[in-house]
Symmetry: C2
Subunit: 187 residues, 2 copies
Protein backbone atom coordinates (compact mmCIF):
# COMPACT_ATOMS: atom_id res chain seq x y z
CA UNK A 1 0.00 0.00 0.00
CA UNK A 2 1.67 3.16 -1.21
CA UNK A 3 0.32 5.24 1.69
CA UNK A 4 2.08 2.97 4.18
CA UNK A 5 5.30 2.70 2.17
CA UNK A 6 5.48 6.48 1.92
CA UNK A 7 4.95 6.81 5.65
CA UNK A 8 7.67 4.29 6.41
CA UNK A 9 10.07 6.21 4.16
CA UNK A 10 9.13 9.47 5.88
CA UNK A 11 8.93 8.45 9.53
CA UNK A 12 10.45 4.98 9.91
CA UNK A 13 13.80 4.79 11.70
CA UNK A 14 16.23 1.99 10.93
CA UNK A 15 17.88 0.97 14.18
CA UNK A 16 20.12 -1.72 12.72
CA UNK A 17 19.93 -4.26 9.89
CA UNK A 18 17.08 -6.08 11.62
CA UNK A 19 14.97 -3.46 13.37
CA UNK A 20 12.73 -0.83 11.77
CA UNK A 21 11.19 1.53 14.31
CA UNK A 22 7.75 2.84 13.39
CA UNK A 23 6.53 3.92 16.79
CA UNK A 24 5.40 7.36 15.59
CA UNK A 25 2.48 5.89 13.61
CA UNK A 26 2.13 2.14 14.10
CA UNK A 27 2.98 0.79 17.52
CA UNK A 28 3.25 3.45 20.22
CA UNK A 29 1.53 6.46 18.72
CA UNK A 30 -1.10 5.21 16.26
CA UNK A 31 -2.20 7.01 13.11
CA UNK A 32 -5.83 5.90 13.12
CA UNK A 33 -6.59 7.05 9.54
CA UNK A 34 -3.69 5.06 8.15
CA UNK A 35 -4.75 2.06 10.24
CA UNK A 36 -8.29 2.30 8.89
CA UNK A 37 -7.09 2.53 5.27
CA UNK A 38 -4.94 -0.55 5.77
CA UNK A 39 -7.80 -2.42 7.46
CA UNK A 40 -10.03 -1.80 4.42
CA UNK A 41 -7.41 -3.35 2.14
CA UNK A 42 -6.98 -6.35 4.41
CA UNK A 43 -10.71 -6.99 4.71
CA UNK A 44 -11.02 -6.86 0.91
CA UNK A 45 -8.28 -9.50 0.64
CA UNK A 46 -9.90 -11.88 3.13
CA UNK A 47 -13.64 -11.18 2.78
CA UNK A 48 -14.77 -14.56 4.13
CA UNK A 49 -13.01 -14.31 7.50
CA UNK A 50 -15.42 -14.54 10.44
CA UNK A 51 -13.02 -13.95 13.33
CA UNK A 52 -9.86 -11.89 13.76
CA UNK A 53 -7.06 -13.18 15.99
CA UNK A 54 -4.08 -11.11 17.11
CA UNK A 55 -1.60 -11.06 19.96
CA UNK A 56 -1.18 -8.33 22.51
CA UNK A 57 -0.20 -5.52 22.11
CA UNK A 58 0.79 -3.69 18.96
CA UNK A 59 -1.45 -5.54 16.53
CA UNK A 60 -4.65 -4.70 18.38
CA UNK A 61 -5.56 -1.37 16.71
CA UNK A 62 -5.25 -2.81 13.20
CA UNK A 63 -6.98 -6.03 14.21
CA UNK A 64 -9.88 -4.07 15.69
CA UNK A 65 -10.32 -2.06 12.49
CA UNK A 66 -10.15 -5.20 10.34
CA UNK A 67 -12.83 -6.88 12.49
CA UNK A 68 -15.10 -3.90 11.88
CA UNK A 69 -14.41 -3.88 8.14
CA UNK A 70 -15.28 -7.59 7.97
CA UNK A 71 -18.76 -6.77 9.29
CA UNK A 72 -18.21 -6.57 13.03
CA UNK A 73 -16.84 -10.05 13.47
CA UNK A 74 -15.34 -10.94 16.88
CA UNK A 75 -11.81 -9.86 17.67
CA UNK A 76 -9.76 -12.09 19.97
CA UNK A 77 -6.34 -11.22 21.25
CA UNK A 78 -4.00 -13.86 22.63
CA UNK A 79 -2.41 -12.97 25.95
CA UNK A 80 1.28 -13.15 26.67
CA UNK A 81 2.56 -14.57 29.90
CA UNK A 82 6.02 -15.40 31.12
CA UNK A 83 4.59 -17.92 33.50
CA UNK A 84 3.90 -21.46 32.42
CA UNK A 85 1.12 -21.70 34.99
CA UNK A 86 -2.02 -21.03 33.04
CA UNK A 87 -5.54 -22.29 33.57
CA UNK A 88 -6.79 -25.53 32.11
CA UNK A 89 -9.40 -23.84 29.93
CA UNK A 90 -6.88 -22.27 27.56
CA UNK A 91 -4.91 -23.14 24.44
CA UNK A 92 -1.21 -22.37 24.86
CA UNK A 93 1.75 -21.95 22.53
CA UNK A 94 5.31 -20.70 22.90
CA UNK A 95 6.48 -17.70 20.88
CA UNK A 96 9.98 -16.31 20.55
CA UNK A 97 10.03 -12.54 20.31
CA UNK A 98 12.22 -11.51 17.39
CA UNK A 99 13.10 -8.07 18.71
CA UNK A 100 13.62 -9.04 22.35
CA UNK A 101 14.93 -12.58 22.01
CA UNK A 102 12.79 -13.99 24.82
CA UNK A 103 10.18 -16.72 24.85
CA UNK A 104 6.60 -15.99 25.85
CA UNK A 105 3.70 -18.26 26.49
CA UNK A 106 0.64 -17.11 24.57
CA UNK A 107 -2.83 -18.20 25.52
CA UNK A 108 -6.43 -17.97 24.33
CA UNK A 109 -9.36 -19.21 26.38
CA UNK A 110 -10.75 -22.26 24.63
CA UNK A 111 -14.24 -20.85 24.37
CA UNK A 112 -13.01 -18.05 22.07
CA UNK A 113 -11.54 -20.32 19.39
CA UNK A 114 -13.80 -23.01 18.06
CA UNK A 115 -13.88 -25.79 15.54
CA UNK A 116 -15.13 -24.32 12.25
CA UNK A 117 -14.08 -20.73 13.00
CA UNK A 118 -12.73 -19.01 9.89
CA UNK A 119 -9.87 -17.05 11.37
CA UNK A 120 -7.74 -14.26 9.95
CA UNK A 121 -4.51 -13.64 11.89
CA UNK A 122 -3.55 -9.94 12.05
CA UNK A 123 -0.39 -8.34 13.44
CA UNK A 124 1.70 -5.21 13.06
CA UNK A 125 4.92 -6.91 11.90
CA UNK A 126 5.96 -10.08 10.14
CA UNK A 127 9.62 -10.94 10.62
CA UNK A 128 10.49 -14.63 11.14
CA UNK A 129 6.80 -15.42 11.58
CA UNK A 130 7.08 -16.61 15.17
CA UNK A 131 4.02 -14.76 16.48
CA UNK A 132 1.85 -15.79 13.53
CA UNK A 133 3.06 -19.37 13.84
CA UNK A 134 2.09 -19.38 17.52
CA UNK A 135 -1.37 -18.02 16.72
CA UNK A 136 -1.74 -20.64 13.96
CA UNK A 137 -0.77 -23.30 16.50
CA UNK A 138 -3.56 -22.11 18.86
CA UNK A 139 -6.07 -22.30 15.99
CA UNK A 140 -4.99 -25.82 15.09
CA UNK A 141 -5.46 -26.91 18.70
CA UNK A 142 -9.01 -25.56 18.46
CA UNK A 143 -9.55 -27.19 15.04
CA UNK A 144 -10.30 -23.73 13.65
CA UNK A 145 -9.51 -22.86 10.02
CA UNK A 146 -6.89 -20.17 9.39
CA UNK A 147 -7.56 -18.28 6.16
CA UNK A 148 -4.34 -16.31 6.21
CA UNK A 149 -2.08 -13.82 7.88
CA UNK A 150 -2.30 -10.05 7.35
CA UNK A 151 0.29 -7.63 8.69
CA UNK A 152 1.07 -3.97 8.32
CA UNK A 153 4.82 -4.31 7.74
CA UNK A 154 6.67 -7.37 6.49
CA UNK A 155 10.43 -7.63 6.65
CA UNK A 156 10.70 -9.80 3.58
CA UNK A 157 14.30 -10.77 4.20
CA UNK A 158 13.56 -12.58 7.45
CA UNK A 159 11.75 -15.62 6.13
CA UNK A 160 8.35 -15.34 7.81
CA UNK A 161 6.30 -15.42 4.62
CA UNK A 162 7.93 -18.59 3.31
CA UNK A 163 7.41 -20.35 6.60
CA UNK A 164 3.70 -19.42 6.70
CA UNK A 165 3.07 -20.19 3.04
CA UNK A 166 4.51 -23.65 3.60
CA UNK A 167 1.66 -24.16 6.06
CA UNK A 168 -0.76 -23.32 3.24
CA UNK A 169 -1.49 -19.83 4.55
CA UNK A 170 -2.02 -16.81 2.36
CA UNK A 171 0.06 -13.83 3.50
CA UNK A 172 -0.77 -10.15 2.95
CA UNK A 173 1.43 -7.24 3.99
CA UNK A 174 0.70 -3.54 3.58
CA UNK A 175 4.39 -2.89 2.97
CA UNK A 176 7.07 -5.49 2.28
CA UNK A 177 10.52 -4.24 3.18
CA UNK A 178 12.81 -6.35 0.99
CA UNK A 179 16.07 -4.87 2.27
CA UNK A 180 17.66 -1.89 3.94
CA UNK A 181 19.99 -0.12 1.49
CA UNK A 182 22.01 2.94 2.50
CA UNK A 183 19.91 3.11 5.67
CA UNK A 184 16.66 3.28 3.68
CA UNK A 185 14.00 0.60 3.34
CA UNK A 186 13.55 -0.79 -0.17
CA UNK A 187 10.14 -2.25 -1.03
CA UNK B 1 -25.16 3.08 28.65
CA UNK B 2 -27.93 0.56 28.76
CA UNK B 3 -26.43 -1.61 26.00
CA UNK B 4 -23.31 -2.13 28.10
CA UNK B 5 -25.18 -2.64 31.39
CA UNK B 6 -27.36 -5.28 29.75
CA UNK B 7 -24.32 -7.04 28.37
CA UNK B 8 -22.63 -7.07 31.75
CA UNK B 9 -25.76 -8.57 33.31
CA UNK B 10 -25.90 -11.20 30.58
CA UNK B 11 -22.24 -12.16 30.18
CA UNK B 12 -20.25 -10.71 33.08
CA UNK B 13 -18.95 -13.16 35.65
CA UNK B 14 -18.36 -12.09 39.25
CA UNK B 15 -15.22 -13.82 40.47
CA UNK B 16 -15.30 -12.37 43.96
CA UNK B 17 -16.37 -9.12 45.61
CA UNK B 18 -13.68 -7.20 43.73
CA UNK B 19 -13.36 -8.80 40.32
CA UNK B 20 -15.87 -8.70 37.46
CA UNK B 21 -14.79 -10.79 34.49
CA UNK B 22 -15.94 -9.48 31.11
CA UNK B 23 -13.51 -11.26 28.85
CA UNK B 24 -16.20 -12.52 26.48
CA UNK B 25 -16.85 -9.02 25.09
CA UNK B 26 -14.44 -6.44 26.53
CA UNK B 27 -10.92 -7.60 27.21
CA UNK B 28 -10.04 -10.91 25.58
CA UNK B 29 -12.71 -11.42 22.97
CA UNK B 30 -13.90 -7.97 21.86
CA UNK B 31 -17.42 -7.12 20.68
CA UNK B 32 -16.49 -4.47 18.15
CA UNK B 33 -20.05 -3.14 17.66
CA UNK B 34 -20.47 -2.56 21.37
CA UNK B 35 -17.04 -0.93 21.52
CA UNK B 36 -17.97 1.40 18.66
CA UNK B 37 -21.28 2.39 20.30
CA UNK B 38 -19.46 3.19 23.53
CA UNK B 39 -16.80 5.17 21.66
CA UNK B 40 -19.49 7.37 20.08
CA UNK B 41 -20.86 8.20 23.52
CA UNK B 42 -17.42 8.99 24.90
CA UNK B 43 -16.48 11.22 21.97
CA UNK B 44 -19.73 13.15 22.42
CA UNK B 45 -18.85 13.71 26.10
CA UNK B 46 -15.35 15.02 25.36
CA UNK B 47 -15.65 16.64 21.92
CA UNK B 48 -12.65 18.94 22.33
CA UNK B 49 -10.09 16.22 23.01
CA UNK B 50 -7.24 16.18 20.49
CA UNK B 51 -5.32 13.12 21.66
CA UNK B 52 -6.31 9.81 23.25
CA UNK B 53 -4.02 8.18 25.79
CA UNK B 54 -4.43 4.64 27.09
CA UNK B 55 -2.25 1.93 28.60
CA UNK B 56 -1.56 -1.47 27.11
CA UNK B 57 -3.45 -3.76 26.65
CA UNK B 58 -7.15 -3.99 27.27
CA UNK B 59 -8.04 -0.34 26.74
CA UNK B 60 -6.63 -0.20 23.23
CA UNK B 61 -9.69 -1.26 21.18
CA UNK B 62 -11.94 1.31 22.86
CA UNK B 63 -9.26 3.99 22.74
CA UNK B 64 -8.74 3.38 19.02
CA UNK B 65 -12.47 3.75 18.32
CA UNK B 66 -12.67 6.93 20.43
CA UNK B 67 -9.72 8.44 18.55
CA UNK B 68 -11.56 7.83 15.28
CA UNK B 69 -14.83 9.28 16.62
CA UNK B 70 -12.96 12.41 17.71
CA UNK B 71 -11.94 13.02 14.10
CA UNK B 72 -8.91 10.75 13.70
CA UNK B 73 -6.86 12.29 16.48
CA UNK B 74 -3.64 10.47 17.49
CA UNK B 75 -3.86 7.49 19.81
CA UNK B 76 -0.95 6.89 22.17
CA UNK B 77 -0.63 3.86 24.40
CA UNK B 78 1.69 3.85 27.38
CA UNK B 79 3.89 0.78 27.62
CA UNK B 80 4.25 -1.35 30.71
CA UNK B 81 7.60 -2.61 31.83
CA UNK B 82 8.74 -4.43 34.92
CA UNK B 83 12.23 -3.09 34.45
CA UNK B 84 13.22 0.28 35.82
CA UNK B 85 15.79 0.67 33.06
CA UNK B 86 14.07 2.78 30.46
CA UNK B 87 15.51 5.24 27.98
CA UNK B 88 16.07 8.89 28.78
CA UNK B 89 13.58 10.10 26.18
CA UNK B 90 10.52 8.83 28.04
CA UNK B 91 8.16 9.94 30.76
CA UNK B 92 7.75 7.30 33.44
CA UNK B 93 5.27 6.59 36.23
CA UNK B 94 4.60 3.68 38.56
CA UNK B 95 1.21 1.96 38.53
CA UNK B 96 -0.11 -0.66 40.89
CA UNK B 97 -2.27 -3.23 39.14
CA UNK B 98 -5.49 -3.67 41.09
CA UNK B 99 -6.24 -7.19 39.89
CA UNK B 100 -2.72 -8.56 40.07
CA UNK B 101 -1.27 -6.59 42.98
CA UNK B 102 2.04 -5.84 41.27
CA UNK B 103 3.72 -2.58 40.38
CA UNK B 104 4.53 -1.72 36.78
CA UNK B 105 6.54 1.08 35.28
CA UNK B 106 4.58 2.77 32.52
CA UNK B 107 6.29 4.89 29.91
CA UNK B 108 5.50 7.16 26.98
CA UNK B 109 8.16 8.55 24.67
CA UNK B 110 8.38 12.26 25.32
CA UNK B 111 7.76 13.22 21.72
CA UNK B 112 4.24 11.73 21.87
CA UNK B 113 3.00 13.86 24.79
CA UNK B 114 3.48 17.58 24.42
CA UNK B 115 2.79 20.80 26.23
CA UNK B 116 -0.63 22.02 25.12
CA UNK B 117 -1.97 18.60 24.12
CA UNK B 118 -5.65 18.19 25.06
CA UNK B 119 -5.68 14.61 26.24
CA UNK B 120 -8.53 12.23 26.98
CA UNK B 121 -7.52 9.19 29.03
CA UNK B 122 -9.38 6.00 28.02
CA UNK B 123 -9.32 2.58 29.63
CA UNK B 124 -11.46 -0.52 29.96
CA UNK B 125 -11.87 -0.45 33.76
CA UNK B 126 -11.82 2.11 36.56
CA UNK B 127 -11.33 0.58 40.00
CA UNK B 128 -9.04 2.47 42.40
CA UNK B 129 -7.91 4.73 39.58
CA UNK B 130 -4.27 3.67 39.65
CA UNK B 131 -3.82 3.32 35.90
CA UNK B 132 -5.58 6.61 35.16
CA UNK B 133 -3.58 8.34 37.85
CA UNK B 134 -0.36 7.06 36.29
CA UNK B 135 -1.42 8.28 32.85
CA UNK B 136 -2.37 11.65 34.36
CA UNK B 137 1.08 11.80 35.95
CA UNK B 138 2.74 11.26 32.54
CA UNK B 139 0.62 14.09 31.07
CA UNK B 140 1.59 16.44 33.90
CA UNK B 141 5.26 15.69 33.30
CA UNK B 142 4.71 16.71 29.67
CA UNK B 143 2.70 19.78 30.69
CA UNK B 144 -0.21 18.42 28.66
CA UNK B 145 -3.83 19.16 29.64
CA UNK B 146 -6.01 16.23 30.69
CA UNK B 147 -9.68 16.81 29.85
CA UNK B 148 -10.96 13.75 31.62
CA UNK B 149 -11.05 10.00 31.99
CA UNK B 150 -13.44 7.74 30.09
CA UNK B 151 -13.79 4.04 30.83
CA UNK B 152 -16.08 1.24 29.79
CA UNK B 153 -16.75 -0.18 33.26
CA UNK B 154 -16.40 1.62 36.58
CA UNK B 155 -16.48 -0.23 39.87
CA UNK B 156 -17.98 2.66 41.77
CA UNK B 157 -17.29 1.16 45.18
CA UNK B 158 -13.52 1.23 44.78
CA UNK B 159 -12.89 4.94 44.98
CA UNK B 160 -11.28 5.71 41.63
CA UNK B 161 -13.77 8.39 40.57
CA UNK B 162 -13.39 10.41 43.76
CA UNK B 163 -9.63 10.32 43.50
CA UNK B 164 -9.68 11.52 39.87
CA UNK B 165 -12.33 14.17 40.46
CA UNK B 166 -10.18 15.59 43.24
CA UNK B 167 -7.57 16.24 40.56
CA UNK B 168 -10.17 18.26 38.67
CA UNK B 169 -10.81 15.54 36.08
CA UNK B 170 -14.20 14.77 34.62
CA UNK B 171 -14.97 11.04 34.71
CA UNK B 172 -17.27 9.15 32.33
CA UNK B 173 -18.10 5.47 32.56
CA UNK B 174 -20.29 3.43 30.22
CA UNK B 175 -21.49 1.36 33.18
CA UNK B 176 -21.00 2.12 36.85
CA UNK B 177 -21.19 -0.99 39.00
CA UNK B 178 -22.18 0.36 42.40
CA UNK B 179 -22.16 -2.99 44.18
CA UNK B 180 -22.45 -6.71 43.76
CA UNK B 181 -25.66 -7.96 45.37
CA UNK B 182 -26.55 -11.65 45.38
CA UNK B 183 -23.76 -12.24 42.89
CA UNK B 184 -25.25 -9.70 40.45
CA UNK B 185 -23.89 -6.26 39.56
CA UNK B 186 -26.10 -3.34 40.56
CA UNK B 187 -25.78 -0.13 38.55
Amino acid sequence: MKLLEDRILEDGVIINNDILKVDSFLNHQIDVSLTRALAKEIAAEFPTAKKVLTIETSGIPLAFAVAEELGNVPLVFAKKSKSATVGNDVYTATVKSFTRNINSQITVRDRYLKRGDKVLIVDDFLAEGNASFGLYDLCKQADATVLGVAVAVEKGFQGGRKRLEELGLRVYSGANVKAFVDNKPVF
